[in-house]
Amino acid sequence: MASRTDTGAAAAPRARSWHGAAIALAAVAVVLLVGFPLAELVATAFAQGAGPLRAVLTGDRALSAVRNTLLTGVVVTGFALVGGTAAALVTERSRAPGRTWLRVGLLVQLVIASFVGALGWAQAYGPGGLTDDLLGFALPGLYGVAGVVTVLSVQGVTLAYVVVAAGLASRVEPDLERAARASGASAWSALRTITLPLLRPTLLAAAALSFVSTVNAFGVPAVLGSPAGFVTVTTRIYSDLILSADPAAFSRVILLASGLVLLTLVVVGAVDLGESVRGAVTRTSAPPGGVPPGVGGRVAAGLLWGYVVLTTVVPLVALVLTALTRAVGLPAVPANWTLRHFREALTGLGGQALGRSVLLALAAATIVVGLGGLLTALRRRVAGRGLSTLATLPFAVPGSALAVGVLLAYGRWLRDTLLLILIAYLAKFWALGHRPIAGAADGQPPDLALAARASGAGPVTALRTVTLPLLRPALAAAWLLVFLAGFDELTMSSLLYGPGSETLAVVILNLQQLGDISVTTALAVILTGVVIAAAALLTVVRRATLVSVWGPSLRDGHKRRLGESLRGLRDSRLR
């Protein structure tokens, strides 16, 4: 630190005033985007007193929403943990052929919007869906609790997979398992005595993440639960806020939203505590992979392929086929294909909504990168660190609750405008853009900028010629992550939209509820196409980031690359 502060007495006053202005700007942004909405939510909840709380606890319907949410959370977390761990062991340890594609197949669930996943499942396995047409088989209970739990579990498995795969890379050196095998442990016994104990904190984090993302999920219960009367807290908030004119409903919304915040913060806080207690891990340049796979590894890889096909490929194919087929009920053969639904989808409301979503995502991404860069520049200062913590806080706040807070804070002036939605996006995704930038900045040796200074560059020139060029890929990655998250955002948009400010996701949800399946799926396919293109671009940029920070030493870089790119994607799907 000492070497960083002695920048010369003459330059100091100017630097201080620059920093002062920057801190003031960041502080204003934090107060407006984070402080005000959350304070309004908490204040309103307290102002109501205990009356509504009693009403919720005794009211049958609100209470069942709470019960449904908690039960779904627990069951999905169980499935996600087991499935995600098994998948991670197969792709990271078995050396089965085609592992790279298996990883991609699993990660697709992170990239596509969760409500699109639910739509795909409905078109694939629902009544009148693909398997119903071809085989006369429809998944019983797809609309309702079973369907919600299944599709949320599929998404939870991928979330847990990402965490466990990154944990395997960072906590369990292959040499640790090799040492166990060379000490006489069988594959199973090495897993039980070495791998899983070392992964314990990771598994805890994966469980917390699955639980939090499940209880805060909106898209899947909205698409598969609501039509069958299966209500969760998030869909309850939605229907109370959007569909109900009852004043008591509004206090219920405040209360349920506050409850979600509390639950999320408790779970996340407990795990963060556990995460800080971690063991030292050594790194080696050992050859990749664990131990040559036995027959079991190949069988497991085969099973995982089957899983990916059933849970991801078939629903996406079904979605595309429904969008292409001339009319619902016709067999999905080329003779019946048409682009009419796409044309229909893009003219009128759908086209306008697409424009709005692109605009919102562009604006959110650009502003967030600016704000993220600002905080990164301030990260060495105490005030800057405090502001960073505050800015990343809303990320842990459920989207539904944050939207209610934004509505309470700004709804009186900005109701039914895109600006209201943009504020919510900025608050929620600031952390998403901040982290990759700060991560890359921290990974950049301070010596690089100092070397520029020692070579005769002033502070601004050093920033312009050395620091920023090296950060460019990280800035691009942050921009794409926020774009990705904002473009198909549903949870907050669905609570904040009004006439003339419907986003693409909102239009898709509304059309689905109206039963216009062909246009719904066409719009969903368009949305997914954009998202997948952005995600593919992100992967390319990510690689460039890591190479720029770590150099092209791939052996060592591989683990980091895996960890980093997975973390970014995972974060983009935390809603």
Binding site: L176, A179, S183, G279, P292
Partner: protein, 356 residues
């Protein structure tokens, strides 16, 4: 019939991508022999050990342990079913286990009861001189202590083949020699075979019965420490095994153990010989620093001196080229001074200077 070798690799080939990491490696280790695998980093040492341990499947060739085939291109016996113990470069100690639990681990895996395993593990830690650290986890141990635990864990395996993957690479010099002594001692008392990978020629020559030189996945030379040091097959092997100067002069081997060199006006007949394939004409002659000394019939000028404590290294410019000469004691000649020197041993090798 003599017992089968503890390790026999034949035509072993490994490739992670299309570029082979190991290529046609033939190597045997007898039952009570220590073979050092010496090579620069990236030469395939760890991969070779990984093949023997069962971590890396070969693409071609076979590995036999005590006569039993354990690895071929389509079959790989898992590590736990091979009679091998491994000491890892980065220790590979399990962060969640204490030292004594770590050493007890191999014992537990072969079915020793918990209390007995604990007793034997404590005994092994005592032998390593770190019984006092039994309850500590790896994060609370220094590098040298960690590697002692790693060594104790390998010994607890009671295997007939020990694989050392650069066990001293991350230790400082003092710990390194202490650990080397310990391992040489264990070798004398243990009687098990060992394959010892290292990039340090001094270490390889000191601990091994035979040394195998590995370059880019291919074995360049296998021989006793004296053979590889005094009679390297080529310049690369010579530089890998120790300091060497090269003279470009007419040389002729006479019989097996004498060589005649023409240095300017002088023709000298000294100990030495030539590598197979080296021609007798104006060739490349290898001289180790201690094969030459100051004083004698040959002229030279001091270009540089390095005082090393027990001896001093002089770099001389001579009509035959630059040469390093090692002489006991403190420097006696300064830079630029004209001196005389003599040569009592040399080795003629094939190939142009600096070539491979």
């Amino acid at each position: 019939m003599s017992p089968p070798p503890a390790v026999r690799c034949s035509a072993l080939t490994v490739a992670y991508t299309h570029e082979p990491v190991l290529c046609d490696v033939d190597l045997t280790v007898q039952a009570d022999e220590v073979v050092a695998v010496l090579g620069p980093s990236g030469s395939g040492k760890s991969t070779l050990l990984g093949c023997v341990a069962g971590f890396v499947p070969p693409r071609g060739g076979e590995v036999h342990l005590a006569g039993r085939m354990v690895a071929s291109s389509n079959r790989s016996v898992p590590p736990e079913s091979r009679d091998v113990a491994v000491v890892f470069q980065q220790y590979a100690l399990w962060p969640h286990l204490s030292a004594v639990d770590t050493v007890a681990y191999p014992l537990r895996r072969r079915g020793v009861a918990a209390a007995e395993a604990h007793r034997q593990a404590t005994e092994l830690l005592e032998r390593m001189g770190i019984a006092g650290l039994a309850a500590r986890r790896p994060a609370e141990l220094s590098g040298g202590q960690q590697q002692r635990v790693g060594l104790a864990r390998a010994l607890a395996r009671a295997a007939s083949v020990y694989l050392f993957d650069e066990p001293t690479a991350h230790l400082d010099t003092a710990l390194r020699s202490a650990l080397q002594e310990e391992m040489t001692e264990r070798r004398r008392t243990g009687g098990a075979a060992a394959l010892y990978a290292t990039h340090d020629s001094g270490e390889a020559l000191a601990v091994a019965d035979r040394v195998a030189l590995l370059r880019a996945g291919r074995l360049v030379q296998v021989g006793t420490p004296t053979q590889v040091y005094e009679q390297p097959v080529d310049l690369w092997a010579a530089r890998l095994t120790g300091p060497a100067s090269v003279l470009t002069v007419p040389a002729e081997a006479v019989g097996d153990d004498k060589v005649v060199l023409t240095l300017g006006e002088e023709t000298i007949r000294i100990d030495g010989g030539r590598a197979a394939g080296a021609t007798g004409e104006a060739g490349t002659v290898l001289v180790r620093p201690e094969w030459a000394e100051l004083g004698g019939p040959l002229p030279g000028t001091v270009r540089q001196t390095w005082y090393r404590g027990p001896h001093t290294d002089y770099r001389l410019d001579t009509p035959a080229g630059g040469i390093d000469v090692r002489h006991a004691g403190a420097p006696t000649a300064r830079r630029g001074e004209r001196v005389t020197w003599s040569l009592h041993r040399a080795w003629a090798i094939a190939g142009a200077p600096g070539g491979s």
